[in-house]
Symmetry: C5
Subunit: 261 residues, 5 copies
C-alpha cells in the first residue's frame, strides 16, 4: 500500500471538509446530488468517447496501481545482476540456467533465458528494448487516461455551472433565491476542480514517476545483462550500474565480491 | 459500431438534458436558435479558413470513423504472421505467393508481395515504413482537424456571449429583461463548451488512440515480415512479436507450431 | 483563389453581423472606432517589436498566400517524375537534359539539373534537402507571424477592456451610463477575439497545412530523383512514390509505361 | 538602431495613452505609484529568485540588444565565403592566412584560422558547431529570461488586483468609494498585461528571430568553410550556400567569378 | 548563500506587505488561518499523492539547494583540465594518478581514475555520459516537483475561493457581511498565486538554470578528459573547451602553458 497516495487523498479531503464545516453551515450547502452526477457522469461520458471500451474499463485497475507500492527495488536488482555476473564469470554463461529459477522479475528472467540460449547480443538488446519500450508506452497511455479525466472534469464543472447560471438568471424575480441558486451553480465547478486537482492529476503524476522508476530498473537490467554476456569484469559492471543511481543509493550496495581479472 | 463512442455521446447528452430539466423550467431556456447558429457556424467558418476545402469536406467521414470499430486484431495479425513464417520456413519464401490470396490486410499483402518478388530487405523496410509513416501522418491530420474544431468552438462561444453582453448592457433600463438577456448571452459559451468537451475533443482523442493501435499492428507486421525474409526461426519471431503485446494479450496467442531448427 | 479561405471569412463575418443585428439595436452598439484602433494598433505595435522590419512588412503577402490555391499537384508531380524515370531508363540520364525545359517546378528542375551534371548522389540529396529544409523553415516562420498576431490580439483586447473598465468605474455616479460604458469596454475584448479566432489563427493553420503539402511534394521529388539517379526500375519507383499518397489519390495515377527490366 | 522595435514600443504606448485620454478623465485614473511598484517590483523579485545574480543583472543588456540592428548580412557573408573559396582555389589554403585580416566576423575568422592551421576537417566542424551550439544556447537563455518576465508580470498584476479587491471589499459601507477602489485594484492587472504584451513577450520573440538569423549565418559559414577545406569548386559551393537563402535574397548575390575546373 | 534567491524572496514579500498595509487597514484583512491551511495543506496533499513518499519528503532539501551557491566554477574547471592535460602531455597518462588527490570534483576525479586505469575511451565516455544523464534526470525531477507544487497551489486557491463563495452566497440576507465574506473567499486565491509565483515557480526555474550550468561543466570535463586520453595538444584542448564559454568568460582563462608539439 502506497501510504503517500492514501494519506494525501485522505488529508486533502479532510482539509476541504474542515474548510466547509468551519463556515458554520454544515456540509449541506456543499452537497448537491444532481451536480455530482452531472460532473462525474459527463466526465466519464467524454472519457468513454475518448478511449476504446476495453481500455476505458481498465481505469479502475489503473487508479488502483497508484495505491500499491512498486515492487522494484533498484539496489536489490543491481545486487542480483552483480551476483549473476559473478556466477557467469566463475562458472560460465550456462551456469546462469540454474539461477533463472531464483529470479522474481519476469523481465530479468527473460533476459537471462535469452543469454543462456546463446542468442546474439544484438538480438537480446533489441528484444529487451522493444519490450521495455512497449511497457513504457502502456504506462504512458495509462497516465494519459488520468490526464484526460483531469481535463474533462473541470470542463464539465463549468458546463454544469453554466446550466445553473442560465436557470438562475431566468428566475431573477425572487431575489431571496439568487444567492442559494448561484451557490448551487458554483458547486459543479467546485466538484470538477477537486476531482481534477486532488484525484486525477496527482494520480497521473504518480503513475508517470512510477514508470520512470520502472524504466530505470529495466535499463539497469539490460545494461547489466549485455555486460554479463560480453563477459565484462563484475567490478566494471558494478561501476557502470552504479552510475544509474543517486549518490545516496550507491552506498547501499555491497561491493561485488570476486571479479579479479 | 464502437459502443463506447455512441454510449458516451448519448449518456453525456442525456445527463446534461436531465440537469437542465431538473431545474423545473423545461428545455426552453436552453434553446436559442441564433446562438446555436453563431457557435456552430462560426466554428466551421474558421475551420474552412484553416483547412483546404478537400480536407475540410472530409470531416464527416473522419467523425464517422470514431464510431466504427477498428478491424485490426493484434493477436490475429500475429497469428497470421507466424503462420506465414511457418509456411516460409517449410516451403520457402516463394510459397508465400499462394498465401497472399488469403490475406485481408492490404499492408500485409503488399509486404508479402514485396518479399515474394525478392525485393531487397532494406527496400522492403523502407517502402513499408514510408507507407506506415504517411498513414500515421494522415491520421494525425484527421485528429488535428477535430482538435482545431475543439479549439474554435469555445472561442466562438465566447464571441457570442460578448455580443449578447453588449446588447444587454445597452438596454439596462428594463431591469426585468436583464436576467433573461444575460441567460441567453451565456448560452453560446455553454454550446461552445459542450461541442468541444463532449464531441470534438473526445473524438480527437479516440482517433489518436486508434492510430496508435493501428501503427502498433503495422510495426508488428514489418518486424514479422523482415524476420520471415531473413529466414529466422518462427519461435524467435514469436518471441519478438509478443514483446509488442501487453502480458494479458500474450496468453491469447497459440504457440507457433513448428520452428524446429 | 482558395474558395474555402474566402468563404470561411465571409461566412464567419456574416454570421457575427447577423447575430449583432438580430439583437434589434443595429450595428451601432458594436462599432467604436477608438476600440478598433487600440486593438488593431496595439497588436501590430507588438508585432513590429517582435519581428524585424523586413519580415514584419511581409505580413500582407503572407496573408495573401492563404487566399491563393497551391499550384502543387501531387499526382501530377508523381506522373512527371515517372515520365522522367522512363526517359532516363530508355535513353540514359543525359537525355533528361532536354526534359528540363518542360519542367515547371523550380525545385524539380534544379534536381534534374544536378543529376544531368553528374553530381554525386549524396551531394544531390544534401543540396535538395537543405533547400527543402529552408523552404519549410521560412513557411514555419510565416505561420509563426500569424500565430503571434493571434496571441497579441486577445491580449490587447483585454488591455482595452481594462482601460474602459477603469474609466467606467471612476464615473459610477451616473448609473444610466454604466451599461453603455461597460458595453464599450467589452468591445475591445470582442474585437480581439474575432481577429484571433476568425482571421489570424485559422490563416496560420492554413499556412501550416499548405507547408505540409508542399514538403510532401518535395519529399516525393527527392525520393524520385535519387531513384532515377540510382537507375532503379520505374515500376519500383512508382511503388515507392505511391506510398506517399493516400489510397484515394493512388488510383488517380496511371501505371508507369515501360520499366521492363 | 532597430526602428521596428522602437517604433512598435512608441506606437503601442501612444495608442494606449490616447485610449486613456479619450475617456475624458485625463491620465490621473491610470497612474497609481504603489500599483506600479508592486507589479514591477514583484515581477523582478521573482525574476531574481529564478535566475542567478550574474545572469539576472544582464537583463538590461539583453533588452538593449533587441534595439540594435544585427550586423549579420547573409548575402554579404556568402559573398565573402565565395571570395575566400576563389582565393583558396587559385592560391591554395595557405593563401587564406592573409585574408584573415580582412574578416570582420570573429566566427568566420576563427574558422579560417583553423583551416590555415591544417586542422582535421572533422575537428574544424566539431569546434565550430560546438561554438555555434553554445552561442545559440546563450541566446535561448536570454530569450527565456524575457519570457519569464512576461509570465510573472501578469501574475503579479493579478496578485496586486487581489490585494486591492480584498481592501475594497472590507470597506463596502462607503458606496461612493467602491468604483474608484475597484478601478485602482484593476490597475495592477492592466500594468502587468501591458508589461508582458507590449514589452517582455515581443522583445523575447525578437531575440528568438534574431538568434535564428544568426544561426543561419553561422551554418552558412560552417558549410562554406568545410567546402573550401575539401577543395570544392566555388560554383558548387555557391549553389550549396544559396540553398540557405530565400529566392528573393538569392538574386542579390553576384555569381562567383572563377571556379573553372 | 545565493543572495539573489534570498533577496528576491525577501523583496517580493516586502513589496506585497507594503501594498497591503498602504491600504490603511493593516494586515488583519489579509490573514486568515483556515485559508492558509486549506491552500498549503491541499497543495501538499496533492503533492504527496503525486510523488512517492521518499521523493516527496526530499522537497525541503530541494528548496534548500536553490538558496545555496553552486560550487561549480566553469573557468576554474577548464584551468584544472588544462593543467591535467599539460601533466599528461609531459609525464604521461599515469602521472595523473598523483593529480587525482588534488581534485575536488567527484565527477572529474572519477573520470581521471578511469583514464589512469587504462579504460577504453569508448567506455570512459559511456560511463561518464550515463552518470551525467542520470544526474540531469534527477535535477529535472527536482525541478518538476516544484513545478507540480506551482500548479497545485493556484488550483487549491481556487477551490478555497469556491468554498468561500458558496458559504457567502448561502448567507446573502445580511448585506453587511457580503463584502468581508467575499474578501475572505478571495484570500485563498491570493495565497495560491503568491505561493506559485513568488516561491515555487521561480525556485523551479532557478534549479533548471543551475542544472544547465552543472551539465555544461560536466560536458566540458568529458570533452577535456577524452581529449587528454587521446593525447591531444593542450593548445587544441584549450581551444575546444573555450568554445563552451561565453566570450566574456573566455578572457578569464590563462593560456595553457606548454603544449609545444
Amino acid at each position: 500500500m502506497d501510504i503517500a497516495t492514501l494519506g494525501g487523498l485522505v488529508g486533502g479531503f479532510a482539509l476541504i471538509l474542515w474548510g466547509m464545516i468551519s463556515g458554520g453551515l454544515g456540509l449541506t450547502p456543499f452537497i448537491d446530488a444532481p451536480s455530482i452526477i452531472i460532473v462525474v457522469g459527463g466526465t466519464f461520458a467524454s472519457f468513454f468517447i475518448a478511449y476504446p471500451l476495453s481500455k476505458a474499463l481498465g481505469i479502475g485497475g489503473i487508479i488502483g496501481r497508484a495505491f500499491k507500492n512498486p515492487t522494484d527495488d533498484t539496489a536489490g536488482i543491481i545486487a542480483k545482476v552483480l551476483e549473476l555476473a559473478n556466477t557467469a564469470r566463475r562458472e560460465g554463461l550456462l551456469a546462469l540456467e540454474e539461477a533463472v529459477g531464483n529470479i522474481q522479475d519476469d523481465f530479468l528472467k527473460k533476459g537471462v533465458g535469452l543469454i543462456v540460449d546463446g542468442t546474439d547480443p544484438e538480438l537480446v538488446k533489441s528484444i529487451l528494448e522493444t519490450e521495455m519500450g512497449f511497457v513504457s508506452e502502456r504506462h504512458t497511455e495509462s497516465k494519459g487516461m488520468l490526464d484526460t479525466l483531469g481535463a474533462f472534469a473541470p470542463a464539465f464543472g463549468m458546463i454544469g455551472t453554466l446550466v445553473g447560471l442560465v436557470l438562475m438568471l431566468q428566475q431573477l424575480d425572487d431575489p431571496s433565491s439568487i444567492g442559494p441558486s448561484m451557490a448551487v451553480a458554483l458547486l459543479t465547478t467546485f466538484y470538477g476542480s477537486v476531482l481534477a486537482n486532488l484525484i486525477f492529476l496527482p494520480l497521473a503524476k504518480k503513475l508517470e514517476i512510477r514508470n520512470g522508476e520502472e524504466m530505470l530498473v529495466k535499463e539497469i537490467m539490460i545494461e547489466g545483462l549485455l555486460s554479463i554476456q560480453a563477459g565484462e569484469n563484475p567490478r566494471i559492471i558494478e561501476e557502470k550500474l552504479k552510475a544509474f543511481l543517486s549518490p545516496k543509493l550507491r552506498s547501499a550496495i555491497a561491493p561485488a565480491g570476486g571479479g579479479d581479472e
